[in-house]
């Protein structure tokens, strides 16, 4: 009998709680990029342990998914902060404004390198971005010459560049939903694509076609979509010494005994090189704050202060232990100032 009365009691009580908490949320809600997630979570944990505020809740939704949720409106049911592994797009900014999210604060937190790595049992690759483009693009310039495109005919690395080994082209990388993939396409593929003069000339005439050539990755099995789980790519590389993998620098940093990063355009993916900006495939990481929520949701200003302090994102801050590449000092100061002033982003 008691059990029977308990069940509706629980249901009733939980519904009551439900209506109560819609009105007030006492923790920060963060969504966004899976690349920023490992860094934001460390800050959130530190913030929760050292302040009187609750630990922020962080969902890993991807940059695009995060901005969609973030721009859905103002109010406690919408997230306060979104992480992004790329800058907010103009269309997303417009969407935010349409839904009443008029004031956004942009904070850049640092850089992330993208490594092209293979197993330590194999020899280390020395690649140029052009090699990467030729090996991985769906359509490449006809190897016989002339300004025309053909379906990618290259089967081995040696076909692409005579200096490379004769092993089959086999690259494990993230799927199209991933920010890492976007960044790889933009920085590595387009970076190599630009080296071909007649394609570069196309950029001014027909930007759409140019992007389609430079960003489209081949689908004939040479590029294998290995899911969002970077650990899995590392394991697969270990099992298959002929394959290369594409993933974030923090995973390379944690697995230096198993995999080695290829040297891209003469620069190895190392902390110092990425920080200096000489390593070509690195991208900035951001987060965006909804200004209307500051002061309404407890702790946002303090969270920003924690994130932008030197002990967090500085040259020797605890985020560097997790693989974040810090910004130069002047840039850090600039964004720390923006965080204090809650400077409104204008696009």
């Amino acid at each position: 009998m008691t059990k029977k009365s308990l069940i509706p009691a629980i249901a009733g009580a939980s519904l009551l709680c439900a209506s109560g908490s819609i009105l007030a949320r006492d923790y920060i809600s963060i969504v966004g990029s899976s690349t920023v997630y490992p860094f934001a979570t460390v800050v959130a944990e530190q913030f929760g342990k050292t302040t009187k505020f609750k630990t922020p809740k962080i969902e890993s939704t991807g940059s695009g998914g995060g901005l969609k949720l973030f721009c859905a409106g103002v109010g406690t049911e919408h997230p306060d902060i979104t992480n992004a592994s790329r800058r907010i797009k103009k269309s997303e900014y417009g969407r935010c404004h349409k839904n009443g999210v008029n004031e956004i604060v942009e904070i850049k937190i640092g850089y992330d390198g993208i490594a092209v790595a293979n197993s330590k049992q194999a020899i280390r690759f020395k690649l140029s971005r052009k090699d990467l483009f030729l090996a991985l693009a769906k359509q490449v310039p006809d190897p016989k010459g002339g300004e025309k495109l053909v379906e990618n005919p290259y089967k081995t690395w040696k076909d692409v560049n005579a200096k490379l080994p004769a092993s089959r082209i086999e690259v494990l990388g993230p799927p199209p939903t991933s920010g890492t993939r976007d960044a790889f396409a933009e920085l590595a593929m387009e970076g190599g694509c630009k080296k071909i003069d007649w394609i570069k000339a196309m950029k001014k005439r027909d930007k759409k076609a140019y992007n389609a050539i430079c960003h489209t990755i081949r689908e004939d099995g040479a590029y294998i979509e290995a899911g969002e789980n970077d650990n899995l790519i590392v394991q697969k590389l270990e099992a298959n010494p002929n394959a290369l993998g594409i993933f974030g620098f923090s995973f390379l940093d944690q697995n230096t005994d198993k995999v080695q990063g290829a040297i891209i355009d003469g620069v190895a993916p190392e902390f110092e090189a990425i920080a200096k900006g000489t390593y070509p495939i690195s991208r900035p990481l951001f987060f965006y704050v909804k200004k209307a929520h500051v002061g309404k949701i407890p702790g946002i200003a303090e969270y920003l202060a924690e994130f932008t302090s030197e002990k967090t994102w500085g040259d020797e801050g605890y985020l560097t232990d997790k693989g974040l590449i810090p910004m130069p000092r002047a840039e850090r100061q600039q964004f720390a100032k923006d965080a204090v002033e809650l400077k409104n982003l204008k696009l």
Binding site: I7, I10, A11, S14, C17, A18, G20, S21, I22, R25, Y27, S29, S34, Y37, P38, A40, T41, V42, A44, E45, G48, K49, K54, T55, K57, I58, E59, S60, T76, E77, K120, E228, N229, D230, N231, S250, F251, D253, Q254, N255, T256, D257, E316, Y318, D321, K322, G323
Partner: protein, 438 residues
Amino acid sequence: MSNKIDNEVLSASPNKSMQRVQASLARRYAKERRFRRMGISAVITGLLFLSLLFGSIISNGYTAFWQTYIQIEVHFDAEMLDPQGQRSPEALSAANYGGLVKRSLRQMFPQVKKRSDKRKLYHLVSSGAAFQLREMVMNNPQLIGSTALIWVAADDDVDMLMKGHINRHKPEADRRMKDQQISWVDELLQQGRIEQRFNTTFFTAGDSREPELAGIRGAVMGSIFTLLITLALSLPIGVAAALYLEEFAPTNRLTDLIEVNINNLAAVPSIVFGLLGLAVFIGFFGMPRSVPIVGGLVLTLMTLPTIIIASRAALKSVPPSIREAALGIGASRMQTVFHHVLPQALPGMLTGTIIGMAQALGETAPLLMIGMVAFIVDIPGNVMDPSTALPVQIYLWADSPERAFAERTSAAIMVLLAFLITMNTLAVLLRKKFERRW
């Protein structure tokens, strides 16, 4: 004599068929043996895969139940912790405990002078050590001014080295622990200041980005709250629906349609229920994301068909004679159902419910849509606190870069499996104890 001849004549044709039977006998026996062998090999293959699964999970994960601790000598310096001497909780809470830990380490290794080396030295112990000291002082401010030997959790890299997951024979550049750090660890080991202990943190803490501080308590509580909601909703609704459909509803087109649809619903992929939950509970009713109540509602939708189908099967198995006898002595239909049929069918219904719950416990896909795949440190205290669930925690850890999370992933899988096995055993025991056969 004539008799004998008769017999021979008669047995001529049976003899022939007997010969045929005997000729085919060996072949038929062989066929049966082959089939049996195939069956046995199928079972063995299944068992082999199962043992491979368990073997790999357990061999990867059992080390996570131990954690390396380092003993440090801490002087709770009054100057450093509370210069004003007021012992106010605010001042004590904000004091520099990390500094205390660092000072202890410097005193233990006075030969370390260079700044970069000191940084490496500080990385021997977990960043949780400072919080541990803070908690000690907050609970007992009298400690200030005294000196104590304290065991603190080692950093995950030290832990991995001690467990043999970092190979110290590889070239220095290829491992996360450098020669210098390994020599410090060896020194501590000689002094008896490093110890492996049972990892209680794993069972008492919420999630963390530091493997040595991460625990599954938050995920377990989240799963419990979610399942409580699911149980509280799906059992009464499921049983009521089954009772009505089986005992009261007329058989017509409409009830047929309902029945077909319930069976169809049971086969709908779980992610669809997640999308439904996102649109209805979060979108329309405006419930918050990432809370167990929404998770429970979504999983209720998912388990309802399972429970209804199992409950109806249980009701069907109650022989009609019981109903007829009850009706015959003047019981109403309602009395018949609640006094006689339901008690007989209840064990079967409960078994179905438990199996449905076990299914819900292992579900991640629908929770993905409603925001329960999130980093949540605080342990949820009620159904409205943001939380994750056990399988989600496994997914999140499997995706973490730190090597030490690999063993914790396996350990969390072991905990999840333990829950599932317990629930299924409960279902079997219930059935054994209460089931009646007619």
